[in-house]
Symmetry: C2
Subunit: 411 residues, 2 copies
């Protein structure tokens, strides 16, 4: 059972978490709880750190940030005691969650589940501080923002848990963002692959790495609300989906406004030039998402690509620097774009899904600026102003709208 | 170098600590800093804990409270980095400060100094989180309030430090409380034994256990101000004092208002009765300080003793319970008393010091209600209203007044 920062945001909510853990235990389960820092605490600590420079020492950042989860784990154990239960808090170095030494973004190497199992055997609830680990030298490390999801899934894998429940402030994974599309439905079951694509495409409900680990070790992940007992969304393997494959070729529609489009005009069309441009971007750690190169009509060609908006200033500086060497005439930036995507494992066995997407967008008069596809996903770049229109058109067109609303007579 | 909560109470003060550490390093020393939680932080954490019951689980209290020092140690290391220095924070379990498992009041068993020495060898300052340790099972423990002094002295002993500097918000140990006696002087050097008596008698500048450890391992302790470069007070072995023994038989005058006096009237004067009373008090963990039994004038006698005011309610309940069995007529409590004490190793070789104390008090018309002595201390219980009068009379009478003021003509 993993509870995020909002779910442990104050003393009453921690009490609520304790109650929920005890109810699960009373139902006959061994319970391990993974907790995040109380909402606001990590930012308070980072604020203190930034008083000592823009980029404080990464090792010390981790020693500092790890206290947030340590506080919550101790308080949660106390809350369980107060309700008459047994509990023991465990920190990253006590469990042991062994990571590499990449401070502030460490990756888990091994987890020893025996200390947790031992606590459970004594009839107690193990309350594990999420987000943190320890490297081989005994230094405290953290897994980066949202790392508590990763902790939870990795610990579930290590102890062979029946399920990893991720409690959050939404009640599950939706077919698309309900704020954009009021007809969005909660998904009952979704495959790891689809969840991974949705997480990569901007759905924030689960951290990408946690889904990767769940998929690798086959951990069923149940995403559900901290504030209700309703069933949420089960993330599981494709063969366990009991989905009506006919209707649900597409599982969800995602959108991401965090990209910008860069077009280099009249670049020299000779071998090695494109490699030079993207090599230089890679050297600066600037991730390029989509690339479009038009068919050349002579000695020069236009090259278009998209990058994260956060990387745009660095990308622009780099292009300005290397542009002359590749014969570039000039370059144009467009940050009023959105990437809309459809995701679904059913695409593998259904031809024509991409074509249907293009036609649905065309039907709304939306021009497609770039396309990328994978086995279970199609993404299109369109003008940002079409975001809501495009999402709703795809959601309805692929049969994802809520039935209860959908089938009511129009009012 | 140990800095208490006030000395690291905010970001600017932490910067000041970093500056001071770097200056000491620049002067050619290997530097180890022990830090407390930022002033107010421990109380904030305890406040959170008490939301989950009056007596939260002790193990979890320690996991919680230890975060206070963890935060300060990381921030102090960052501050040193920002000023261009090298530093590494070390927690109790990283150093390893191994303690017993008496959570919230653990005692240090062993300290491995090698990790600290290693940091120093790399030219870096080791920033150790005070107050905390780890037991054999890997649980986090704390040493109790003021435990950072104990951490500092014990670590100094473990690494064979030349000196343990305790930085605090006063500039040293005084001959008596300057708030009570404006003529109090800062003591340049004081022996471990004297410091131990003064600490036991209510002087709050050093924790008793830290002085015991310093004495046991011969660690020179320099108590000084965080806010000035002035020399403070060196606590050292008796043979290193270069004191004018004639003048300074008495090193300091202490007072303690935290005791109350209990008199049991007309207790049965037969063997075993007194043992029964004090045995019962000891069983309840109530420490008795002084005991006075008057010479018996028949079958009954009065028995008087002092206890800490905090223990008084429990002591009264116990006396009421066992009183009838020892034939007690009734009992009287007086909590308007003060214990004034003189301390000095010179007493060993000077007769008549106690007599001089009694005569100084008598000269002010102060009645002595009880007396206790040790080799280097004489304590008297007097009415609380005489506190200031008694302290000043003893301070002047034993030649402790500041000369600069003392020798000025009266204005």
């Amino acid at each position: 059972m993993k509870f995020g920062g909002t779910s442990v945001g104050n003393v009453d909510r921690i009490r609520n978490v304790a109650r929920r853990c005890l109810a699960t235990q009373a139902a006959g389960h061994d319970v391990v709880v993974i907790v995040s820092a109380m909402a606001g605490e990590t930012n308070r600590l980072l604020g203190l750190a930034h008083e000592f420079g823009e980029i404080p020492d990464a090792r010390e950042m981790d020693a500092l940030a790890a206290t947030g989860e340590q506080v919550t784990s101790a308080l949660t154990a106390m809350a369980i005691h107060q309700l008459g239960g047994q509990a023991r808090s465990l920190l990253g170095h006590q469990v042991r969650v062994v990571t590499d030494s990449a401070f502030t973004k460490a990756r888990i190497r091994t987890i020893d589940g025996s200390r947790i199992t031992e606590v459970n055997k004594q009839g107690a609830i193990a309350v594990v501080a999420g987000f943190q680990g320890v490297d081989d030298a005994g230094n405290i490390t953290t897994l980066g923002r949202g790392g508590s999801d990763t902790s939870a899934v990795a610990i579930a894998a290590a102890i062979g848990a029946d399920v990893c429940e991720i409690f959050t402030d939404v009640d599950g994974v939706y077919t698309t963002d309900p704020n954009v599309c009021p007809l969005a439905r909660k998904i009952n079951k979704i495959s790891y692959e689809e969840m991974l694509e949705l997480a990569s495409l901007g759905a924030k409900v689960l951290q990408i790495r946690s889904v990767e680990i769940a998929m690798k070790y086959g951990v069923p992940v149940h995403v559900r609300s901290s504030f209700s007992d309703a069933e949420g969304t089960l993330v599981t393997s494709e063969d366990k989906l009991d989905r009506d494959m006919e209707r649900l070729v597409v599982a969800g529609v995602a959108y991401d406004k965090n990209e910008a489009k860069v077009t280099l005009r009249e670049v020299q069309d000779t071998p090695g030039v494109v490699a030079r441009i993207f090599g230089a971007l890679a050297d600066k750690n600037i991730s390029v998402d989509m690339i479009i190169q038009n068919v050349s009509s002579g000695a020069a060609t236009d090259v278009t690509f998209t990058v994260a908006k956060a990387d745009l200033p660095r990308a622009k500086a780099l292009i300005a620097e290397i542009g002359p060497a590749v014969g570039m005439k000039d370059f144009v930036v467009d940050d009023s774009i959105v990437k809309v995507s459809i995701v679904g494992v059913g695409m593998r066995s259904h031809a024509g899904i991409a074509a249907k997407m293009f036609s649905l967008l065309a039907g709304e008069g939306i021009n497609i600026q770039a396309i990328s596809t994978s086995e279970i996903k199609v993404s299109c770049i369109v003008a940002a102003k079409y975001t809501e229109l495009a999402v709703r058109a795809l959601h309805t067109g692929f049969g994802l709208d809520r039935k209860d609303v959908h089938e009511e007579p129009a009012t």
